[in-house]
């Protein structure tokens, strides 16, 4: 933009219409965004996750006995789908899976109509994974059911951020379930790679700073716009991977989301040169940092096989924490009240 087309300075301060307050979530059991949870709610979920994890499976499965939960998946998933399903079943709920490739969605049924159909079939909550950002908000508005966001497009993946938090706490603050604004003070979490297309990055960057952590975003400009630093407080962009590593207690690696690149050209050799987490980089710059990854990992691309399997890797622990967190989230969705007639 040249000088002649620059914005002229505003001459006066004018009153303008303000955006209306959000009506979401319509259902108090929903978890659409990490922003739906204040720190008390986060603490409650962490506490319940631990309690449920330690509970006798034979009493735990009375909590949501025969309640009906639908898993509605418009994208493929291994970890999220299986752990939500195991979590719901551990509490005694009946689950049913609807996936876009083997349902009437293929015939053109809309998200609204699919949701209303599941509700008519008796679903009391819907766990939704969708390739469009914002889809869980639409589903919640149209069905009024508790909706759990299991990942929407490039937007959010709130249960992933919660399980990531639980993983970090287990290492950095063992025994802590009650979190506050200082719990992660002094902790720097670097998120590396395809931030632009990552719902995991967004949920983490909106959650962790509220507990006192500093979030550094690291990646090339095509995958990390400068405006990302404005997404919320406590977020900064650091393009130099090794400089970021030196400041980090936690480093979270992300996969390049080929399915969402939409024309963005990435030179993979250059990318690996600058951003691949290798054993050498890790031992030189962050020998004590916790290495995390939401999966699926691509060995030899964003990180080497040695790092994935190495001493600092918490990748499989994250998966295990996922089941505990999702039990707590599913319990909350259905009102957290054990059914009557409980043994």
């Amino acid at each position: 933009m040249n000088a002649s087309t620059a914005t002229p300075p505003a001459r006066r301060h004018l009153q303008t219409p303000q955006p209306p307050a959000s009506l979401f979530p319509y259902n108090p059991g929903s978890l659409l965004s990490v922003m739906d949870l204040d720190l008390d709610a986060v603490s409650h979920l962490l506490t319940r996750a631990t309690a449920l994890e330690n509970q006798d499976p034979l009493t735990r499965d009375r909590i949501l006995l025969k309640r009906r939960i639908a898993l509605l998946f418009y994208e493929s998933s291994t970890r999220t789908r299986t752990s939500f399903e195991l979590a719901a079943k551990s509490l005694g709920a009946d689950t049913t899976l609807v996936s876009s490739l083997s349902s009437s969605i293929e015939k053109g049924e809309t998200l609204k109509d699919t949701g209303l159909t599941l509700r008519a079939l008796g679903a009391e909550a819907i766990i939704l994974r969708h390739n469009s950002s914002g889809a869980p908000w639409l589903l919640e508005q149209e069905t009024g059911l508790p909706v759990l966001n299991a990942g929407d497009g490039m937007h959010e993946h709130p249960t992933q951020a919660l399980l990531d938090l639980r993983t970090m706490l287990a290492h950095l603050r063992p025994g802590v379930d009650k979190v506050g604004a200082e719990t992660l003070a002094g902790v720097t979490v670097t998120i590396v790679g395809d931030i632009l297309h990552s719902r995991v990055a967004r949920s983490n960057m909106l959650l962790l700073p509220r507990l006192g952590a500093r979030v550094l975003l690291c990646g090339p400009t095509q995958l990390l716009p400068d405006s990302a630093a404005n997404a919320g407080p406590g977020i900064a962009v650091e393009r130099d991977f090794e400089a970021a590593l030196r400041q980090s207690q936690v480093v979270m690696m992300l996969r390049i989301q080929a399915e969402r690149l939409a024309g963005v050209q990435i030179d993979l050799a250059q990318y690996k040169d600058a951003y691949q987490l290798t054993g050498q980089r890790l031992s030189a710059h962050a020998p004590e940092a916790l290495v995390m990854h939401p999966g699926p990992i691509i060995r030899g691309l964003e990180l080497t096989a040695g790092v994935a399997d190495g001493r600092q890797s918490a990748i499989l622990e994250q998966v295990r924490h996922g089941v505990a967190i999702r039990m707590a989230v599913v319990e909350r969705a259905l009102g957290a009240q054990p059914k009557e007639g409980r043994a």
Binding site: M1, S4, T5, A6, T7, P8, A10, R11, L14, Q15, T16, P17, P19, P20, S22, F24, T110, L111, K112, H130, S132, S133, G134, A135, W137, L138, E142, D152, G153, M154, H155, E156, L196, R199, R202, P225, S227, A228, N230, A231, G232, A262, G263
Partner: protein, 439 residues
């Protein structure tokens, strides 16, 4: 044809420089006489079949003119028809609307233009078709503008399919100038907006949506102005549709200083709302160009107040309810606007930001009429078309989308407070709208 006598109203006719209490007599579709309040008596010169409207306490003004609406016919009657769209126009105080050619099929021929103008369409206010600039709006082959004009088209555009090729745009500007038509450009370099559904910036990042950069608009406006400059032909008229960015406004401002015939319009949503109003994926806040940053919105207000903007136009874009009840990125662009424009302009431009009433009305009638050369419209001088809006300038009311005359409900202004309520809309001497429950 019967006569209508509007008595004791306060006439504001910016083009004629009138701002005073007047009686006004309409006869045979034209303004027959204007005289001091209480001076024209029914039954004498007015004739015995005169219908008398008491406009005491009300403002009488030239009927409003919207040079950017989508009436959806032919081909998309499930969204809107010419009958329902013009009914909404009349309810909003509009007596003339210019209809965009992105219909099915595209209005790129005299036959379709004439079809739209046929009395069988049931229009209740004047419709001015805008012809497509190129065959099928594909940006390749320029249409016969003389034939389109002869059939009734008042301008040419490819609207939502902006002409990207320099050569085609240059030829469009030159060919339109030869027959005395304006070229309207929806300025969007679509190579920069693939898959995008809102303004580019921190809000789009946060919502995980692909963004349209402001440069997609401003670079095309700058390109078009460069082409106008190079053509060196005073007849060339470029009109920039729904301007939404400070950079595009700045380019228009500069072009005008350079003496070029470049005009622009701004839609109410672009001077009132920002990308924050998208909220959590409200598809009724999705349109193209998208809601922009607060700085861009403020630049629209400034440009209206300081006179760079030539017209307020609504970009009335009706869609069926089910079409908007989908994932944000899949929802069609556009919001309705005909019934809310006057109420929002009076509430915000006039009451809040102190733009004189005459200037607000001029932006909604005299200036758009002059811009497209609509003869006899936009003024109530004796002999003009009897296109009149009579409204209560003080009335505050709440807009309810479910009470609309349009087929569509897709508005972000549902439940908003409006200022100034239309009592009567008169199109060529015929009452096209009368409020049911005048307070």
């Amino acid at each position: 044809m019967s006569s209508v006598l509007i008595r004791n109203g306060h006439l504001i006719d910016p083009a004629a420089g009138v701002d005073a209490a007047k009686d006004i007599l309409l006869k045979d579709g034209r303004v027959a006489e204007i005289a001091g309040a209480g001076k024209i008596k029914a039954g004498h010169e007015a004739g015995s079949d005169v219908q008398v409207l008491d406009a005491s306490g009300l403002t009488v003004a030239p009927g409003l003119i919207d040079i950017h609406v989508h009436l959806r016919e032919p081909g998309q009657g499930h969204k809107e028809t010419i009958a329902t769209g013009t009914a909404a126009a009349a309810a909003g105080g509009f007596t003339a609307v210019a209809a965009m050619p992105n219909t099915t099929p595209v209005n790129d021929s005299p036959e379709i233009t004439r079809w739209m103008l046929s009395p069988e369409r049931g229009a209740c206010v004047r419709v001015y078709p805008i012809g497509a600039a190129t065959r099928g709006s594909k940006g390749e082959q320029i249409n016969d503008f003389a034939a389109l004009k002869a059939a009734g088209a008042v301008a040419v555009t490819d609207d939502g399919h902006p002409i990207l090729k320099d050569g085609i745009m240059r030829e469009t500007l030159a060919a339109a100038a030869r027959v005395g038509l304006s070229v309207i450009q929806h300025a969007e370099d679509t190579r920069m907006t693939q898959g995008a559904s809102m303004n580019a910036g921190p809000m789009a990042f946060k919502l995980g949506l692909r963004g349209m950069p402001v440069e997609a608009e401003s670079s095309l406006v700058e390109r078009d102005i460069r082409l106008v400059t190079e053509l060196r032909d005073a007849r060339v008229h470029l009109h920039v549709a729904h301007t939404s960015t400070a950079a595009a406004i700045a380019a228009v401002r500069q072009a005008r200083r350079n003496g070029l015939r470049v005009t622009c319009e701004v839609a109410p949503h672009h001077f009132l709302l920002t990308e924050e109003h998208v909220g959590l994926y409200n598809t009724n806040a999705k349109m193209n160009p998208p809601l922009r940053s607060a700085a861009d919105r403020d630049a629209m207000i400034e440009a209206i107040l300081d006179g760079v903007v030539d017209a307020i136009a609504t970009d009335h874009a009706p869609h069926a309810v089910h079409e908007k009840e989908v994932e944000f990125e899949h929802a069609p662009n556009g919001i309705t606007g005909l019934e809310t424009a006057l109420g929002l302009c009076l509430r915000w431009l006039h009451k809040e930001w102190k733009l004189p009433l005459g200037r607000v009305l001029s932006l909604l009638s005299a200036q758009p009429a002059a811009l497209l050369g609509l003869k006899g419209r936009g003024t109530l001088a004796v002999g003009s078309f009897a296109d009149v809006v009579v409204f209560d300038p003080k009335a505050e009311w709440t807009y309810h989308a479910k009470e609309t005359h349009s087929k569509a409900h897709n508005t972000p202004f549902d439940g908003w407070t409006m200022q100034g309520r239309v009592r009567w809309t008169i199109s060529e001497g015929r009452i096209a709208y009368a409020a049911k429950d005048p307070q």
